[in-house]
């Protein structure tokens, strides 16, 4: 039986992709002198226009503009979900990442004793979609109250073990992050194995494995270079879910220096990877990692005829685009030279 909804999804996503920001848009944005001009360009010359319709360029706040750009991404994703026969995977992966980010942010503020700041950062547009009450989370003042909020959700048993002891110590945020991310990837892979077959399953698995490997490699680079961390410490911080890179290879990378892992990421970049000076190459591990992710995602997006793969790829590309715009907004706001901002962009 023909999958009309899948074909509709592919057509819709490809049409949306055609409206993405191109190199000339980024060039134009990099020429803007203040946040208002950036807002003006996005509002009047790009497909972000509906999201920014009520923005007043002369009044817009930097954070509000970033907020609206990110909200546009979520709104687009929710609209595209209508075309998906199985929204389980996409709900899991996309929203889970956001939910995890909110939980970690709340824990950071709790650790810092400034939970009232979480209210400011909380993205209100997520409140209708999260599996726990974001407003209740914002009202939590202790870790136990935070756990109470998470109790109805699947995150409760993941975060629970990281409850700090009563002697006033702070919660292990990095351990919590590793556990939560590992859980989300595990769940996603299980769904892929259960609900998909053939090439669709292979492609989705490849996309997820790449994310896992890139995360782990980035962790190795950062912990080795910036913190001189020991191998057991690094191993604790790696997502335990198996990606494409076999454990044996991870073992070898852990024994080697940070450069080996950085080169491993560079090897995952399709085409010419961005070049950075030897002195500060480790500072750009994030950009390199995102570039590698984009390359595979774009290849899958362009070649795939399966709606789930196309949809997942597109959502990733949209996130990368949102990240680029946020970098431009922040760089413009703080008068960073255009060439420096450009280095952060993954186009």
């Amino acid at each position: 039986m023909l999958d009309y909804s899948g074909n509709a999804a592919i057509a819709k996503v490809r049409a949306l992709y055609g409206k993405r920001l191109k190199a000339e848009d980024y060039n134009a944005l990099l020429q803007k002198k203040n946040v208002g001009e950036v807002a003006g360009y996005l509002k009047n010359d790009t497909y972000y226009a509906p999201a920014l319709e009520e923005v007043k360029e002369e009044l817009i706040h930097r954070e509000q503009l970033e907020y609206l750009v990110r909200r546009f991404g979520l709104d687009t994703y929710v609209r595209l979900l209508k075309y998906s026969r199985n929204d389980n995977l996409f709900f899991r992966l996309h929203l889970m990442e956001r939910e995890i980010a909110q939980i970690l942010l709340a824990i950071r503020y709790l650790n810092a004793g400034s939970m009232e700041r979480y209210v400011i950062s909380m993205p209100e547009y997520l409140t209708d979609h999260t599996s726990f009450n974001l407003y209740a989370l914002a009202k939590a003042t202790t870790f136990d109250e935070l756990l109470n909020v998470l109790e109805p959700s699947e995150y409760y048993r993941i975060v629970g073990p990281f409850r700090p002891p009563d002697d006033g110590k702070t919660a292990d945020i990095t351990g919590c992050e590793t556990a939560l991310l590992g859980y989300s990837y595990q769940k996603s892979l299980e769904i892929v194995q259960k609900d998909y077959r053939g090439k669709t399953r292979r492609d989705l698995t490849e996309l997820l494995h790449t994310r896992i490997d890139l995360h782990n490699l980035s962790v190795i680079v950062r912990l080795k270079h910036f913190f001189n961390a020991d191998i057991p410490v690094i191993r604790e911080r790696l997502i335990k879910v198996r990606g494409k890179i076999p454990p044996r290879e991870y073992g070898a990378l852990l024994q080697s220096g940070a450069s080996a892992s950085l080169e491993r990421i560079r090897g995952m970049v399709r085409g010419e990877p961005p070049r950075f000076s030897e002195a500060d190459k480790f500072n750009w591990v994030g950009v390199l990692s995102t570039t590698a992710k984009q390359g595979l995602t774009l290849r899958k997006f362009r070649s795939s005829q399966q709606a789930p793969v196309t949809l997942l790829s597109y959502i990733s590309l949209l996130e990368i685009e949102a990240g680029n715009i946020v970098n431009i907004i922040e760089g413009t706001r703080y008068s960073v030279p255009a060439e420096e901002i450009r280095k952060l962009l993954v186009i």
Binding site: E24, D25, N27, A28, Q31, K33, N34, G36, E37, A39, G40, N44, D45, T46, E53, E54, V55, K56, E57, E58, L59, I60, H61, E63, Q64, Y67, L68, E116, V119, I120, M122, P123, E124, Y125, Y135, A138, K139
Partner: protein, 647 residues
């Protein structure tokens, strides 16, 4: 049929580079500037226009040129002055004065003037360029850097970017035009050599908008067809064509190009009508040679009359349906549901009109009546209802839901639209003990205010939009810093009320209204009500008023279908008039001898060509403008007029 692609140019740079940039833009000859202050992100700058320092010098030069009898024109002048502007003007002034002094000495005058002509004209060219470039400053805004925006044809983009590329300290951004709704993209039509002359007719009606279509090719085809049909004579058609050709070649009369084309079509129809300079039998040998018993169309034959008239009406129906389809295409291109679906020239009108035509033809030709209940309901009544309610339907489709958020919040419900007299602004802002702020808060942040229930502030919503709420918050002065910090974190966008608007509550209300609705300050006594219910939004002038107006509009719509269709009968009428006039000429010529007959026929032909040609030309244009353009072409665009130095 094509509208030339345009590129939007956005130039930003140091003020020192402004003059050079303006000169280059002028020299390019392809740049049409737009007022940069139309873009709100650039409007914070002041416009850069200052008194033109070259005006007086230019005037002196042109007056001197008149006195010296030097015809002004362009001369290559090498580089532009690089030094001090005042020094250049002073030096040039001295040169002009010297010209006049030397001229006054007759013994030297002749040689001197001969040698000074070129330098003088070079100076004129230079000063004219500098003067005109300076005037372009009225389009520029300046605040630390300058902003200059405008349009160029996309095909000239590379050359333009290369030309301005050598100006230091500027950044030029070029992107496809049409993306920014605040600026109207100018239009330059691009047509081939055959259809280009008909741009004159299109521009006579109005320029197409950038997102419109270029009707020139359509006009070319239909105008030639209509003219040719009404002016069908081989000899006269060829004479008109030749005359047009000569008018264009020798006098550059634009109408000549059109005459050259329509004359040929007229000659073609003359072959069908068998008429050569009014001689109705001149082509009979040709027809017999081709195997025809007689000419295809015998205009003067009474048996042909009905068929001819019906054919012209049928042609009119086809043309009307065609322009309706064009209108639907334009509506789809512009994403206007009202235009493409609900208007009398949209799908609704097309279905109605086509159904009536089909039903009438069916009845007349086949004796079969199609007026069954389903046919009448679906093909006649439903389209008419859609046309009747097109504006409310359009508003309904585009009405954005404000969502449950407003319906659940009493304050926001009452603030849905701005209400005059809802708050005494002056009391709030003039109190010594209260800090007040006016501006807007993102709706998402408004929802977070629940976390600040215990904080000492008061928030008064004024108007609620989709993503923002215009509001006013106030707190005791002792809590000013804390409350400002909270609202800053919540991304409150503060708008400062100038002191002059705090002289009275009415002035303050008026300023706030201007901010929240973008309206001019209210006129005393004017009705200011805004829609507060769905019914009021859909019928802003009242339900009763809508029905009365629409009822009479429907009469006009239905009448226009009939009149526009019947209007094409004039084509058949003029076909017969043409033949009839020549018939009269021949009747008169029969009263004279051979020489007199020849003269009469010649003069008669000239007279008919002139008068009939003029009448037919006007009638064809009338059909184009009224029966056709009126259904699909707005003509609301602006022509592309790049700035150039007119030497």
């Amino acid at each position: 049929m094509a509208i030339e692609k345009m590129t939007f140019i956005d130039i930003n740079g140091r003020v020192d580079s402004l003059n050079g940039t303006l000169i280059r833009c002028l020299q390019s000859g392809v740049f049409q500037p737009e007022d940069a202050s139309k873009l709100s992100e650039y409007s914070i700058g002041k416009q850069a226009l200052l008194r033109n320092p070259y005006s007086a010098l230019l005037q002196r030069i042109t007056e001197t040129a008149a006195q010296l009898n030097f015809p002004l024109g362009y001369r290559e002048f090498g580089g532009l002055p690089t030094g001090n502007r005042k020094a250049f003007i002073k030096e040039s002034d001295s040169f002009v004065s010297e010209m006049l002094e030397r001229r006054a000495a007759p013994e030297e005058a002749e040689d001197f003037l001969q040698s000074a002509r070129d330098p003088f004209l070079q100076l004129y060219s230079k000063v004219k360029l500098l003067h005109d470039a300076h005037n372009l400053r009225r389009y520029v805004t300046v605040k630390e850097t300058f902003h200059l925006v405008g349009f160029i044809p996309t095909r000239d983009k590379e050359a333009f970017l290369k030309l301005v590329g050598d100006i230091p300290d500027i950044v030029v951004s070029a992107r496809p035009a049409g993306g920014d709704p605040r600026l109207e993209v100018p239009v330059r039509l691009r047509n081939n050599a055959f259809t280009r002359p008909f741009e004159m007719f299109v521009n006579m009606y109005g320029s197409p908008a950038y997102n419109d279509i270029d009707p020139t090719s359509f006009v070319c085809c239909t105008y030639c067809l209509l003219f040719g049909m009404m002016f069908g004579d081989v000899g006269q058609g060829l004479v008109v064509s030749l005359l047009g050709f000569l008018l264009w070649k020798l006098r550059r009369v634009q109408l000549g190009q059109i005459m050259a084309r329509v004359g040929v079509v007229g000659a073609f129809f003359g072959v069908l009508y068998g008429s050569v300079f009014g001689f109705e039998d001149a082509l009979d040998p040709l027809y017999h040679a081709l195997g025809f018993a007689e000419k295809p169309v015998s205009v003067m034959d009474s048996a042909t009359t009905t068929g001819l008239l019906l054919t012209t009406v049928a042609m009119g129906v086809v043309l009307i349906l065609t322009v309706m389809l064009l209108n639907i295409c334009i509506g789809v291109k512009q994403r206007s549901l009202e235009r493409s679906l609900f208007s009398q020239n949209g799908v609704a009108g097309l279905v109605f009109y086509a159904s009536v035509i089909v039903a009438v033809v069916s009845m007349l030709l086949f004796g079969k009546s199609l007026f069954s209940a389903p046919f009448v309901l679906l093909c006649l009544v439903l389209p008419l209802v859609a046309i009747f309610f097109r504006e409310p339907l359009h508003r309904l489709l585009y009405l954005r839901s404000k969502g449950a958020r407003i319906s659940s919040d009493e304050d926001l419900k009452s603030s849905f639209t701005f209400k005059e007299g809802g708050l005494n602004i002056l009391d709030v802002f003039s109190s010594h003990y209260v800090t007040s702020r006016f501006g807007r808060i993102p709706t998402d942040s408004y929802n977070k205010l629940v976390f600040y229930e215990d904080e000492p502030f008061v928030l008064h919503p004024i108007k609620t939009d989709q993503d923002y709420i215009w509001c006013l918050y106030a707190a005791a002065k002792v809590h000013e810093d804390k409350m400002d910090a909270i609202f800053r974190d919540l991304r409150f966008e503060r708008v400062y009320i100038p002191d002059e608007f705090l002289s009275s509550n009415e002035a303050a209300q008026g300023f706030i209204r201007k901010c929240v609705e973008g309206e001019p300050l209210p006129v005393a006594g004017a009705r200011q009500s805004k829609p507060t219910t769905m019914l009021q939004y859909i019928f802003p002038d009242g339900v009763g008023s809508f029905f009365i107006e629409s009822f009479f509009e429907m009469f006009e719509v239905l009448l226009s279908f009939i009149t526009n269709t019947v209007s094409f009968l004039r084509i058949g009428g003029f076909v017969m008039v043409h033949a009839g006039l020549m018939s009269v000429v021949f009747s008169i010529s029969g009263m004279f001898g051979p020489v007199g007959a020849v003269v009469t026929i010649a003069v008669g032909n000239l007279f008919v060509m002139g008068m009939e040609g003029l009448l037919v030309g006007i009638q064809a244009l009338r059909l184009e403008f009224y029966e056709m353009f009126g259904r699909f072409f707005d003509g609301a665009g602006t022509r592309f007029e790049p700035v150039r130095v007119n030497y």
